[in-house]
């Protein structure tokens, strides 16, 4: 192991330490997700005015866009941890990469379905094979491919390595999804929210969207922590620290 990696990171990547760390942070992440979600939904569904062109149908944006951002964000996290897992063979990086995949697939699925429900009244079609929609569908297939490849191996660490490889190759699709609205003619609207510049959106509509974005980020953290904890329990089931947890929870 390289010596430039700080010591605390070494310690954190040990399964029992990460198990406790994740267990301590998870309730906070979930609570923040619920609080920001409630604020964002109230702001988006009740306080924000109707759009002058799209009426109330645009309110799908408050779940569609945060989910779409999460579908790409989670893929990036998965790709980076897959890279770390392949290069340094860190068990925890494998766990983070493989446990991120189902959450990312869930958000991608939400993006496609809510987008379809938004497209029908606005574009007159549930689906069209344009660049943005197609590349997002490819993203879903990449997630499913990573999950499937991981499950296909008898030895889970071998499976994680194969699936990590696929995850890294697939990361090329993330910028394609993001820039597809600029590179190709598409029915899908361009980006209205810009982190570094001026957002083409009224503040009344923007703040609920940002609140929902935070909510989905915290939800991902909470879900990832629980999935990683569970996976570590099963991966280390012969170890002493797991036996203690199994024994202490036997009364439930």
């Amino acid at each position: 192991m390289s010596n430039w990696i700080p010591l605390w990171l070494h310690k954190l990547s040990s399964p029992p330490t990460f198990y406790r760390f994740a267990g301590a942070l998870r309730p906070w992440a979930l609570a923040l997700a619920v609080v920001f979600g409630a604020i964002g939904l109230y702001g988006g569904l009740v306080l924000a005015p109707a759009d002058y062109q799209q009426g109330d149908a645009y309110r799908i944006i408050f779940i569609h866009v945060p989910s779409a951002w999460m579908s790409m964000f989670i893929y990036a996290v998965m790709g980076v941890s897959a890279f770390v897992a392949l290069v340094w063979r860190i068990k925890l990086a494998e766990v983070v990469a493989m446990q991120s995949a189902p959450i990312g697939a869930a958000f991608t699925f939400i993006t496609l379905v809510t987008g379809s429900l938004w497209g029908k009244p606005m574009w007159g079609t549930w689906w069209t094979w344009d660049a943005r929609l197609t590349s997002e569908l490819v993203l879903l297939f990449l997630y499913l491919g990573v999950i499937g490849l991981y499950q296909a191996f008898e030895d889970r660490r071998q499976g994680a390595r194969a699936a990590s490889f696929l995850a890294i190759i697939g990361i090329i699709n993330v910028p394609i999804v993001h820039f597809s609205v600029n590179w190709w003619n598409t029915l899908h609207q361009g980006s209205t929210v810009n982190i570094f510049g001026h957002s083409k959106m009224s503040w009344d509509m923007l703040w609920p969207l940002l609140a929902m974005t935070l909510a989905t980020k915290f939800y991902y953290a909470a879900s990832l922590f629980l999935r990683a904890q569970t996976d570590l329990l099963s991966m280390e089931s012969g170890k002493d620290w797991v036996r203690k947890i199994a024994a202490s929870e036997s009364d439930r």
């Binding site: 009426g55 309110r59 799908i60 879900s223 329990l233 089931s237 199994a246």
Partner: protein, 71 residues
Amino acid sequence: MSAVQSFFAMGGYASYVWPAYAVFFIVLIADSIAPRLRRRRELRELRARLARQSARAAGNTGSSFPTPPTT
């Protein structure tokens, strides 16, 4: 139309907006339940395995049948 009714009507787009929100919540709730079920199953299996091991260690070798899990 009351404020509550017009809220649920969503300006005539209720049949698109509400299913979208329903999908969002159903998928995320399913996503949060799945690892809880898996965790319970893993711990149950582990406890059963530990019980079998301790039964064998206690000299329960008279029978070749595995001891049934205690839970």
